[in-house]
Amino acid sequence: MSTVAATLPETQPRYHGLRDWLTTTDHKKIGLLYLGFAFINVWAGGLLAGLIRLDLYNPGWKIISPDFYNQLITMHATLMIFMAVMPAFAGMGNYLVPLMIGARDMAFPKLNAFSFWIMVPAALMMYASFFVPGGSARGGWWSYPPLSTFQFMGGHGEDLWILAILLLGISSVTGAINFLVTISDMRAPGMGWFRLPLFVWSWFVTATMLLVALPVLSGTLIMLLSDRLFGTGFFRPALGGDPLLYEHLFWFFGHPEVYIMILPGFGMLSHILPSLSGKKVFGYKGMVFALIAIGTLGYLVWAHHMFTSGITPAAQVFFSICSFAIAVPTGIKIYSWIASMWGGVIRFVTPLLYCVGMIAMFTFGGLTGIMLANVPFDILVHNTYFVVGHFHYVLVAGSVMALIGGIYFWYPKMTGRMYNEKLGKWSFWLLFIGINWVFFPMHILGIMGMPRRVAIYRPQFAFWNQFISLGFFLLLAGGLVFTWNMVISLRRGERASNDPWQVNDIQHAFEWTTSSPPPAYNYAEIPELEASEA
């Protein structure tokens, strides 16, 4: 089947060069655009993190004003969450989902292009907000009122930030609709729901969460924006509003958002680990139900971000128990990944290293999450660096490691070239050591009592802060090696076969049957799953 792929003539005239990229409706090109966009923003967000670490190197002496420091942390978080991790997963999803289900494109190819392109004005507005009088948004990525109301945060950077997030919300919702319809309608013959590849399942659950959670954020931000610009009182106590309600609404979006940023990574691991161990994934159905359980429970835990905000003890108990409960499906996934490698012929290539590293560090991040779900413990470390350490372990050591592992794993499919294995291993070890170097001591700082979001701190925290700041260079080096590997392998990489990981020796995986990179139409003939295959 794979040899037939190249013989189908193009049925569409295509533009070339720049015009092609601006007008393309090909899900693979759009996926690459998403990835390129994420790449630019992850560097920008990373450099902002560098400035933050520069500021924190010394407890007192400052080149960066505390006000600009607040802008830095806000924009660092916003760029990383909304403009790096989310579009990177959307890019991988765009590229892989139609290939994995044996489709020629997404259900709505033009809408797909729109979902990408609307991120560009949003990004421009986000960056432009630094140059607005008064500077960019500086209330953190949650933008809690009353801090984010006009009385306490003058200037219009915050307004620009809100509008940019609203545009990004349109992108996410249209993208989610596209994924849901594509997955439900365009599966190849024979591919029932319980034969869907797990990455596709993970995107199905993610898209469902995006569809419901993102509009709630949009509605909430519309209210906040109107409080700021039109003098309404939705979240202003003086007018009868309630800032606590903002926290509820924000985290009703914000906690599902956490899973939106990790589930596609879970999906990738479920492909990479078994494939590189020469096995099929362990406990397929358990994995599917675990995804659905995480997606569902994710809506019932939002107030665990608000244990100290003034919610009733009964609510604390409820949200605490629900948060513990999420550890069960997550545990199922972790054990199933390990079982997927158990007894296999494991190839210790770069993607596998990233995934194994991800399991180890993500589990650690999950365990500190269980600690934080304890109300008494959370009250002690609330808004300290312990929390910062925790969520960087799940986001950087979890999502980003899975993402980079996935990019290495599917790089041959996307580019037709193999990446450089030696550089790949260097990037892994630099990032693995760097992540632990930078983020582990944050837990110590948190337990010592250092609050997050402060530009000036007490001298007893200086040692670990300097230690962390030095670790930034490890992350920088790891990022540079990874970037360099991606760039030079485009030209110098060995030509990749259709199935460089021999996935199809074990199971029928569509995306590895077509050429690398696949033709515009993916498959000359729509592939089918036989009843006997799984």
Binding site: P13, V173, L211, T232, G233, G241, L245, E525
Partner: protein, 271 residues
């Protein structure tokens, strides 16, 4: 640029027929144009709301949003003639329903706000808020609810190919929608002028104006969709019932706007 892609597609028809489910539209400028339009709309709103400029950019953004949106809709309608009508129809219907779900979630945030404040406030409506007259809004509600039945008549008329009847029912729906908006505008004007009741007077007014205003914007979008259907009826686009997605979408959207209003009316005026 679209026509170029389409002719080529027609030439490739015999080949596409061999692979019955080819589902690959050609390149298009509409997505990037529409995205630019949305960006300008957001910036125009920003300039206008912060007082940096008058409505110039806002209007420019609105135009740059509407033109590509219309062009896009027309392109899809034309392209579908070369594709599997049942499959694309099913996709579009599902996609539109999901879109309505997400719209409902935005309103959900407003409703959640309203009920939370209402249940935690010491008194509701808060002291100082005017007593909202219910007679005129009730008439407006009746007009909007009835228009939902009328649009159904139009929908059925299109399905059973009684096209001139469909046009009349559609015009009546549009007239009723405009009537509803007129009643709302009168209500707003009355409150603003005689009660001096503005959106910055307190959380009650904020909720009232933002929720009815946001809903009113949706009514306007619904009216635009119904007008587009009317225009396409005039062009004779609905001769084949397979290609009646836009009539379904406009009808569903109108029902959606109606259902949201019933909740709004109940929440704001009656409770």
């Amino acid at each position: 640029m679209e026509s170029q892609a389409l002719t080529a597609h027609t030439e490739a028809e015999p080949h596409a027929a061999a692979h019955a489910s080819v589902h690959m539209p050609g390149p298009s400028y509409w997505p990037i144009l529409l995205a630019t339009g949305f960006g300008l709309l957001a910036m125009g709103f920003f300039f206008w709301a912060t007082g940096a400029s008058d409505t110039l950019w806002l209007i420019l953004g609105a135009v740059l949003t509407l033109v590509p949106a219309m062009g896009w809709a027309t392109t899809i309608a034309a392209e579908r003639r070369h594709m599997d009508a049942d499959q694309t129809g099913q996709d579009l219907h599902k996609g539109f329903l999901l879109f309505l779900v997400s719209e409902g979630c935005i309103f959900g945030a407003f409703f959640a706000h309203n009920y939370y404040i209402r249940l935690t406030a010491p008194a509701w409506p808060p002291p100082g808020a005017p007593v909202l007259a219910t007679t005129l809004p009730a008439i407006g509600t009746l007009v909007l609810v009835l228009s939902s039945f009328v649009v159904n008549l139009a929908h059925h008329a299109i399905k059973s190919r009684r096209l001139s009847a469909a046009k009349n029912w559609l015009l009546l729906t549009i007239a009723m929608g405009i009537g509803f908006l007129a009643i709302q505008a009168y209500d707003w004007g009355f409150l603003l002028q005689f009660d001096k009741f503005t959106l910055s007077k307190g959380v009650f007014g904020s909720g009232y104006y933002i929720m009815t205003g946001f809903h009113g914007m949706h009514v306007i979008v619904g009216l635009l969709m119904l007008s587009l259907v009317y225009w396409r009826l005039e062009r004779g686009d609905y001769n084949d019932p397979k290609y009646s997605f836009s009539t379904d979408a406009a009808t569903w959207y109108w029902h959606f706007v109606d259902i949201i209003w019933i909740f709004l009316f109940f929440t704001i005026y009656l409770l």
